[in-house]
Symmetry: C2
Subunit: 108 residues, 2 copies
């Protein structure tokens, strides 16, 4: 690859790799902001449940409900199994955060 | 728990669990839209790289660059290791999608 401009490609359809990567970087930042916000809201749910005397964070029925809704609206290109895998990772992260918050409260 | 309203909690600070869950559901939908858009843009990068004669999709240096940027701007509450775990799952999904697209092209 000489590094020259790919003049054989139709310019109207083809965005540069740098341009596409800049969009991915922006999406990453937006994803991180949303994932972080989600972590905060889930922590608030944990506090509200504790206040109601429901200290258990793991709620498989609620997770299943979220996964079913995502399955219904999945626009692609990822297969639903892949989408579920990503969200299960997010669920796991939230649960770990809740458990870490519990430990901190026990130490106070 | 009687199911009654938690009147002992300050209403100005405490949102209901239903309300908080509705926000989580909205965040899930936004996350799915962003993850799906990211998949499409990464597929476009794959096409552009193929057009330049660079067919390999796995690019550890590019992944490392994205993870470093995310580490820099991580606002919490998730530890950076957790954020990286979630994004690695997203990277894996994108790579699987690219490889599946390659196979489809070979079959055409």
């Amino acid at each position: 690859m000489s590094g020259g401009f790919p003049t054989l490609l139709p310019m109207t359809q083809q965005r540069s790799i740098d341009d596409l990567r800049a969009e991915v970087d922006q999406i990453n930042r937006d994803l991180l902001a949303l994932i972080s916000r989600r972590g905060e809201v889930v922590a608030q749910i944990g506090h509200a449940k504790s206040a109601e005397g429901r200290p258990n964070h793991y709620d498989p029925a609620r997770e299943e409900q979220q996964l079913k809704e995502l399955e219904k609206i999945n626009p692609g290109p990822f297969p639903t199994a892949t989408v579920k895998g990503i969200f299960k990772e997010i669920f796991r992260a939230s649960l770990a955060l809740e458990e870490s918050n519990d430990k901190k409260q026990l130490l106070v």
